[in-house]
Symmetry: C2
Subunit: 623 residues, 2 copies
């Protein structure tokens, strides 16, 4: 029996000291729980993704030095007896520079720390280069599979192999080689970003790969926000037969501890180095090491019951999945709206914190987008750190102000009212003689830009991070003003379609009611027809189709990359298809200027959907 | 003897009709010059880079349909007898979707058109995924080398192979296989972006690969601006012994026509399909086709003399490079400042034109950055299409206004003066009670943002594209205001360090003097000390080191990715290194918000240098 711990913790890119501190602290906790092995996420020591930092030699050297320092520190703190598997950044020393080779030949690496030393290292074999991943720019592939032999009770040993994240997602490679190596357990550090519904895909994957490898599989994933990415944790332990043994929480740091029944390693260990056909056109070398016997550093007593284990881990009670066995804890799954909401809150909280801000500021219009954004921010960093600015214009309706004031009161935010008429008039006073029109798009944009300048000014003066309040439907269709409502440091709902904005708002209010608390969002903000209020009587539906219709079309066009013919075949109105496709293609430039925001779908624009700005291609007109 | 034409033309991404028109028009010209083969650039039919358009099935289908249409059109116009090699977008039909495979398995393809038909197609084997290239996201690699046998005079034939762009830059693959195939000529469509000094690298490469392949090499490159990329043309023809036979102009469309002495193909042609070890771990299949004999479609007479050839091509007289032979034309090389300036003018001209604008607008401060930007714009689209706005504040010096007015007069631009005091006062009137300070960064930024709002308003009202005027030294160190001076659609000098701004300005003035024209830039704008003029008596050197010192340091840190220790070892002042490294790392967020601009160096930020925004890594302090 082997007690293993999966440490799903919140690393910060570049914070080598802070991340090393996390490794030490969570290894201590794992040892205290009697674990013999603890698995940390991918690139734990550097954070993920490091992007161009991987190409800077000084950073790679610092990562390697920090790895050796943390190994020595663990040894010095009496934690040398626990086998620590952690991700870090390394490099290959044997590759000459050539065109296209990432400078310095960096590796997305994993190390086994034991006895105060770095015992063996390896690197990710399959490099993802799609969606949010650009790893062919930054890394060279690894070509070894480390297997370490760990003595357990009764004079026996177990064998543990190590693979990294994408190595699970691709056929062939480390999983296939693990099967050949005959290891009893495959430990897998991950930095796998959240996407709606991805937890189901991930579980299926772990089950399938465990069966392929003929080994138990320990999937340790990162949590926390890193710019546009949000890592959800959701660490998973499955047996070699695919049975789910334990599962971590979503969007929370946690130690998932469980006891594994592993087959004893054969008495004669295999060769130290064994090149194997990896089934993907490459050769991977199995590298075997044997750890010396060592006493468990924590309490040796096994966890006796599920209840006891859950209590120790602070795990809420949850029904065990069908077919589950063993002593592993199961945190409850979040239902869909709660899961998305948690991702957004995590994204905002960590962006604010990791960038050194303590407070945010945003424009509160009385509409649902700014209401939800303010609520997410208050849930992320506390209402006392949320500053809102009401900026009524001559076109603002009465309910805009009263609904905004209602929200402020419900949540206890800091509020300021700055009417924009005097600034707008100052601009038109100078610009009208130069031919600036009295109505139309230029004047509408002017109002939005004046608000942007006010917010940025208050941000500069008070040190608050400006949050934008645009949703994905607006962003996709370009229904926003450059340097106006799109001005800001972070866009909490930039990947949230309008219909989901409403759903999340209703859900958040219902949660509050269920808990006997005040609903944070005024009902009127949810039910009134959306309006930018930049012209008299203006409604979103003057310019855009109803959001229920628009969002379905955007999903097919943006996420699924359907062309006009496919969209029409899928049942969308041909005239609408033509109009929306043109809007979306024309909005590319605006989207590139939009600040980052938490990603919850496949394509939230930016790196994971990018059209040339100078692009004359137009989808053919519907026949 | 084979007469070949390299058509270095200006394709536009997505403009299938326009690009097809270019293929037809330039094939007609090549035929009229008696060419038997014409080579167009990579992705000629779609433009380059198509980015996510490659993942849209409807676009790939449209590209394939357009290819067949243009082949048929050439046949119909009596141009079927000329062998046309052109780039386009295709797909592999035999790959099942899987994680990480670009959707639809797109190919960066080349086709041979002849006799009104698409005779054979192939695709780029080596996909670049560094610098400005992200091709692992968009393409799957090709694995064939087409070789076509073309009957020439005297009953003999020659054999021509086709490879694409990066296939030249990597060892092994198509060049190695071309040597095995024994083809006499390797035709290479390219979309190779400009970089300072790249022309020398490119020539060396062509010479080396021609020798390796044992074949003459025809390198046809695109010209023109496409968003941040500028293609410089510089098409090259070398003999199998590496001698340079002809070379096209930089930044101009041109047809480079020359006569090649090629070895006759052996009488028995090789097998139709022949798999060969490509020397890079892959197998490439040689595919042979034979074209039917056909009469040259243009004048059959050979070009007799160098002079005649030059006259026909409109080639300026230029000294032939040492070792050159044959009848090929040589356009003169541009010396360094002229070359960079041409790249910037090309970038602006094509960004304006390809985005459907006819005019630009920019803020003219009297300083050198806006003076150079205005001059580049006037050279690109004509002074009558350049609108400048003078926006003096209470901190503007008298020479700011007079120097700006001087430039307007020298170049005949449209000028407008909008003093910003009334707008600034309107903001401070509302914001001061909310704690907005009377001096310091917030008020400096406020002035820059008011100017940004004025420019954007005039842009919206008049349909002009806003040009930003920030240079690379400012952009690197964050010495600019978000939504202020950084607001705009295109940044002509965003990749130009300040010291190069001065050099280009002096060069442009000297060129004018040499031609007997008025120097476009007031001398005072060049010689006065740089100032943002956002506070009384402010100078750039209050916040930044002298640009001569700064630019050297930025080059080492940004372009060469040196760490602090290396920078100090290279002779930079330790205190300065620490300060500048912190400025550059902290400015990452601003740089992502900056508009595109022509790229002239390895790393002009954005896609080709990208740090995580939430990044705690700081280069170690100097010891």
């Amino acid at each position: 029996m082997l007690r293993i711990a999966l440490a799903q913790v919140n690393a910060t890119v570049g914070d080598l000291d802070g991340n090393a501190e996390l490794i030490a602290a969570w290894t201590r906790r794992a040892a205290a729980r009697g674990a013999r092995v603890v698995v940390f996420p991918e690139m734990m020591l550097t954070g993920y993704p490091v992007e161009d930092l991987a190409l800077r030699a000084s950073f790679v050297e610092a990562s390697i030095a920090a790895l050796h320092a943390v190994a020595a520190r663990l040894g010095g703190e009496g934690l040398g007896g626990i086998a620590v598997v952690t991700g870090y950044l390394d490099r290959r020393a044997d590759l000459a520079p050539r065109t296209g080779l990432p400078a310095g030949a960096p590796l997305d690496a994993a190390a086994l720390l034991h006895g105060g030393r770095v015992v063996i290292t390896s690197a990710k074999h399959h490099l993802p280069n799609y969606g949010v991943f650009d790893e062919f720019r930054y890394f060279v592939p690894g070509n070894t599979l480390p297997v370490f032999r760990l003595p357990v009770a009764g004079g026996e040993s177990v064998e543990v192999a190590i693979a990294i994240c994408e190595d699970l997602w691709q056929d062939g490679g480390p999983v296939a080689v693990c099967a050949r190596a005959g290891a009893g357990l495959l430990a897998v550090p991950n930095a796998s970003p959240y996407e709606r519904g991805k937890d189901d895909v991930r579980l299926d994957l772990c089950v399938r790969r465990a069966r392929e490898a003929g080994a138990a599989l320990a999937y340790a994933n990162m949590i926390g926000g890193q710019d546009e990415l949000v890592f959800d944790g959701d660490s998973i332990l499955v047996a070699a037969d695919g049975a789910l043994l334990a599962r971590g929480p979503q969007f929370e740091e946690a130690l998932v501890v469980a006891d594994l029944d592993l087959p004893p390693a054969p008495p004669g260990r295999g060769p130290e180095e064994q090149p194997v056909d990896a089934g993907d056109g490459s050769v991977i070398t199995i590298r075997r090491v044997t750890l010396p016997p060592s006493e468990p550093t924590g309490p040796a007593r096994a966890v006796d019951t599920d209840e006891e284990a859950a209590e120790a881990a602070g795990v809420p009670e949850v029904e065990r999945p069908e077919g589950a066995y063993g002593s592993g804890p199961f945190w409850p799954r979040l239902p869909d709206p709660a899961e998305v909401y948690a991702a957004l809150v995590t994204g905002v909280r960590d962006y604010v914190r990791k960038n050194g801000f303590r407070s945010v500021i945003l424009a509160l219009s009385g509409g649902i987008d700014s209401a939800l954004t303010a609520t997410i921010a208050a849930d992320a960093i506390g209402p006392s750190n949320v500053h809102v600015v009401l900026m009524p214009s001559r076109y603002s309706s009465e309910h805009s102000v009263t609904d905004a004031e209602d929200l402020v009161k419900r949540q206890g935010l800091h509020a300021l009212t700055i009417p924009i008429a005097s600034m707008v008039d100052a601009f038109t006073g100078e610009l009208t003689p130069a031919g600036f029109p009295e109505t139309g798009l230029p004047t509408e944009n002017l109002q939005a830009r004046v608000r942007g300048v006010v917010l940025m000014g208050l941000s500069n003066a008070g040190g608050h991070l400006v949050l934008t309040t645009g949703n994905k439907s607006e962003l996709a269709t370009g229904y926003s003003t450059l340097y106006g409502d799109s001005a800001g440091g972070f866009g909490p709902i930039k990947d949230v379609p309008k219909t989901l904005v409403w759903e999340l708002s209703r859900w958040r209010n219902a949660e509050a009611s269920r808990a006997g608390a005040t609903a944070p969002i005024p009902e009127n903000s949810i039910i009134k027809p959306p309006s930018a209020e930049l012209a008299p009587g203006q409604l979103d539906t003057d310019s855009l189709p109803p959001y229920q219709v628009l969002d379905k079309l955007l999903d097919d066009y943006v996420e699924k990359d359907m062309g006009t013919a496919e969209l029409i075949a899928a049942g969308h109105d041909p005239a609408l298809v033509e109009r929306v496709v043109r809007l979306v293609d024309a909005a590319e430039y605006k989207r590139r200027q939009y600040p980052p925001g938490p990603k919850i779908s496949q394509k939230n624009f930016g790196r994971d959907r990018r059209l040339p700005i100078t692009n004359r291609w137009r989808e053919p007109r519907p026949a």
